[in-house]
Symmetry: C2
């Protein structure tokens, strides 16, 4: 699969899992993974899942506007840059966001998230 | 200097150069550098500068809202994620944007931009 195809498949999988069963995102991170969520720095799969599952909303739906990707260097990593909007249950307005992922290959031929940075785009 | 300090110094330098003398940004890229600008993929310092200097506006001023950074792996790279707004000369409204940079160390102890992805955040 071409890099753009991998990036799109990852993005679809990530947000479908986020919207359906947030705790299952833990399988995408490892011990050295980093998340910066609205400026909060969190490290390690377990802490990242604890952060994501403790966000102050339950149901949500991500709408993806753009997905850009680039190879990140000789180690076979890939940078994925996403823009979109989140619809929270019970809220009229969507929240726009930007997020980047640095995916690294696993020995099993898949990818895990080494870096994850998330920001809401306030109007 | 701590990573956050390096990231902030880079961001200030980058946008000050962009707003003051866009052609001088070439020194921050190398032959293997990649820029994805609103979905357009460009590779190499010379082509990247050609793209940036041919954008359909002359004077502009970047306002930075947030800067996040993370180390990108064992090679000493750094991911820098920026949100902000651009004021174009003669326009009333600012354009909001998000941009990410993957900085890699040079033998001289500085950094160059390996990856650069830019997106406007349309309202």
């Amino acid at each position: 699969m071409d890099p753009d195809g991998v990036a799109r498949a990852f993005v679809e999988h990530y947000y479908r899992t986020f919207d359906g069963n947030r705790a299952a995102l833990g399988g995408l991170y490892q011990e050295g993974s980093m998340l910066t969520f609205e400026g909060d720095k969190i490290q390690g799969a377990q802490s990242i899942v604890a952060k994501l599952t403790s966000l102050p909303f339950q149901q949500c739906l991500h709408h993806i506007s753009t997905v850009d990707c680039q190879p990140s260097g000789p180690q076979g990593g890939m940078l994925v840059f996403v823009s979109g909007a989140i619809q929270l249950a019970g809220e009229n307005h969507q929240l726009k966001f930007s997020q980047m992922f640095h995916l690294m290959p696993t020995p099993q031929g898949s990818f895990y998230v080494l870096n994850d940075i998330f920001r809401l785009n306030y109007a």
